[in-house]
């Protein structure tokens, strides 16, 4: 037997079956063909590029100008020769597309300043504009409009090249890329996508969250995957175990199709639990709610038997459309949700942008958040809305106006001090006064809560609990901030450990502080839908868990197979562990013993 070929930076050298390990970001099994997106799909806007991508960026720009020229030549051929005026205008536009002031300068800028084509082109255009502004003759000066028109054509083509490869696909495929931004993931035509595999990303990257929300299986964090397979190759994607099989054998495919079938049967089986009340064997109730990002998921909320929405991520309303929503659009959206679920509560989190989330669309002219060196610790979330108060006030008005149509709970994210919360409440109360002054109806007793996700809020939870109706623990950020792990960084993502005793103790401390003040404490991170973590969270005394809707039936089943004394013991036990692996190794033996049906042998 010859030795296995080394992993050279080439296309695959053999069609030996191969297994690659990453992390399972969204559950499900797919056997299908792949579409490899060679370029990283990008956010729109201006950004810097690593040196090795500059040649590709120059090529992208040259392709765009070439295509713009082809389009103009085609346009020109549609005019009769006698329309010489129109023709010569088009000719002058064609020449502008080739012009060194545009082309050479843009290419130089891409290379010299390591910036993307859009940015470089805008800079070149700025230089041309300056020159033209100095021209005394008004007619020639106004010819800048032609330059602008030509540049817009190129900008348009550059923009179209971003997401386009997917527009052409007819068959369902597994999409493979280096990375997707959350916006890219949302724009993908979900009906044609069987699954995702990416090179970058930790388990709770927003890509993963969105993939889960869309119910599309995904494996992330497989380095080199875009080089190891080519468009058209057949793979198996195992989103449960975070594995990808390249060139699978017939047997493997058969086996995985069988797993997929079994999973389906299992899902049908747990559907039975949707109808049952969420309580332990001895009658201890825990409210199980849903995390959603769009009103389109309300069907799933009801289908999976959620007792309301524990987290509505309101930012999707802002970037899904091309226009910024106004107060009435937000009001209509919130009213629809509240009225649909009434009397169940709907918890709307105020705009949580910044960091890696959707800030491009909402940036006001003076803000340059892309220049923040450390966005996770920067102007994000509540800090952002306190900075951009017009947005904040508009959203609060829309929420309050909707509050008479159902049961609203307002959730303020990322509060890190009592003073900051006081500023929030000052604005909130002012908005209420304004509405009252305008004679607008709203629910004056609407519940207000904060997300506890910054370590300072955990430590000061006893103080913060005095001013709110409920706490909601956001574990995604709490873990990132307490363990100092960037969840999107593939090198350290494996150290992102939700079951780290430090995290568990912080949860416990927050629960105790809330209960001492008589308020409810819930948890709405991805952890609430992680089946391994659920018994632990129940053991820490949380009053409600909010998770992706599809996770609800299984979690309810676990809850109904538990008893509260046992859960308390489990909570006490894990808090004594010294690190994450110890917690996991304890659970490895505890869970199959306590929940044989759920964690027994048929689970790997």
């Amino acid at each position: 037997m010859t030795p296995a070929p080394k992993n050279k930076p080439r296309k695959k050298v053999s069609s030996e079956p191969r297994v690659l390990h990453g992390s399972g970001a969204s559950p499900g099994i797919v056997v299908g063909r792949v579409l490899v997106l060679q370029r990283k799909t990008r956010r729109s806007g201006w950004y810097n590029l690593p040196a090795k991508e500059l040649d590709a960026e120059v090529a992208r720009f040259r392709n765009a100008t070439a295509r713009a020229e082809t389009e103009l030549v085609a346009l020109r051929s549609r005019f009769a020769e006698d329309l010489s005026d129109a023709l010569s205008i088009i000719d002058s536009h064609i020449l502008m597309i080739r012009d060194r002031m545009i082309v050479d300068r843009t290419v130089d800028l891409i290379k010299a300043r390591k910036i993307n084509a859009e940015w470089a082109l805008a800079e070149s255009l700025g230089t041309v504009k300056k020159k033209f502004e100095k021209i005394a003759d008004p007619y020639i000066r106004s010819r800048y409009a032609d330059v602008k028109h030509v540049a817009d054509r190129i900008f348009g083509i550059l923009a179209g090249q971003e997401g386009d490869p997917l527009a052409d696909i007819a068959d369902k495929v597994v999409v493979i890329a280096r990375d997707f931004s959350p916006e890219d993931t949302m724009r993908l035509p979900s009906d044609r996508i069987l699954g995702f595999v990416t090179e970058a990303g930790g388990d709770t990257s927003h890509t993963a969250i969105v993939a889960r929300s869309m119910g599309i299986p995904a494996v992330i964090g497989i380095r080199e995957i875009t080089r190891l397979c080519s468009t058209g190759d057949e793979i198996i994607l195992d989103g449960f175990n975070g594995r990808v099989f390249l060139d699978p054998t017939q047997d493997q495919k058969k086996q995985y199709r069988e797993y997929k079938r079994q999973h389906q049967v299992f899902s049908d089986d747990i559907a039975f639990y949707i109808q049952l009340s969420p309580e332990t064997i001895d009658g201890h109730r825990v409210r199980l709610m849903a995390n959603i990002e769009t009103a389109g998921e309300l069907d799933a909320v009801m289908k999976y038997g959620a007792e309301g929405v524990g987290l509505f991520r309101s930012e999707f309303d802002y970037f899904q459309r091309n226009v910024r929503p106004d107060e009435n659009m937000l009001f209509t959206s919130y009213r629809h949700m509240l009225a649909t679920l009434d009397p169940l509560p709907v918890t709307i989190r105020t705009l949580d942008v910044g960091g890696d989330k959707f800030v491009d669309q909402l940036r006001s002219g003076s803000l340059r958040l892309d220049l923040e060196r450390n966005p996770a610790l920067g102007l994000r979330s509540i800090r952002y809305t306190l900075h951009e108060q017009v947005l904040f006030i508009m959203q609060l008005r829309a929420m309050l106006r909707a509050s008479v149509h159902g049961r609203l709970r307002i959730l303020f994210p990322m509060i890190s001090s009592q003073g900051e919360f006081a500023r929030v409440m000052e604005i909130f109360n002012r908005v209420k006064d304004d509405l009252a002054g305008e004679g607008v109806d709203f629910d004056n007793g609407v519940e207000v809560g904060i997300m506890v996700e910054v370590p300072s809020a955990v430590i000061m939870a006893d103080v913060l609990a005095g001013g709110v109706d409920f706490f909601s623990i956001g574990t995604n950020d709490m873990i990132q901030y307490s363990l100092a792990i960037d969840r999107g960084n593939e090198y350290v993502a494996h150290m992102y450990e939700p079951l780290h005793p430090a995290v568990l103790r912080m949860i416990k401390q927050t629960v105790d502080a809330g209960h001492a003040r008589g308020i409810e404490v819930g948890l709405c991170g991805e952890m609430a839908g992680d089946v391994i973590a659920v018994p632990v969270l129940l053991g820490l005394g949380l009053d409600d868990l909010s998770m992706r809707p599809s996770a609800l039936p299984f979690v309810k089943r676990l809850l109904r197979h538990s008893n509260s004394r046992q859960l308390n013991d489990l909570g006490g036990r894990v808090l004594q562990c010294s690190d994450g692996p110890e917690v996991r190794s304890f659970l490895d033996s505890y869970l199959p013993r306590t929940y044989p049906e759920e964690f027994g042998p048929h689970h790997e």
């Binding site: 005026d85 010569s88 205008i89 000719d91 002058s92 020449l95 502008m96 012009d99 060194r100 002031m101 545009i102 041309v128 020159k131 033209f132 100095k134 021209i135 005394a136 003759d137 007619y139 020639i140 000066r141 010819r143 032609d146 330059v147």
Partner: protein, 89 residues
Amino acid sequence: MNVLEKTITVDVYRGVHGRVAAGLARIARQHAVRLCILHDDEEIDCSSVLDVLSMAFVSGAQVKFRIHGKGAAGAVAAVEKLLAQRGEP
């Protein structure tokens, strides 16, 4: 290599606008010459319409051309003809 210099007056009603600039570029290509304008002691190549436009020659302006290449004489004649078109009165 032929180099020819000639100052030509712009008679075009609107001055050297987009179509005229495009015309200069076309003449350079058709006659296979390097067609330049001497402007502030600089030689500006007419292959860039934007450079030509940004010099903003209005009607009546005296433009000094320097033409490199075998086809220089033919190119000069074509430029004279182009800039003499009054058009659009």
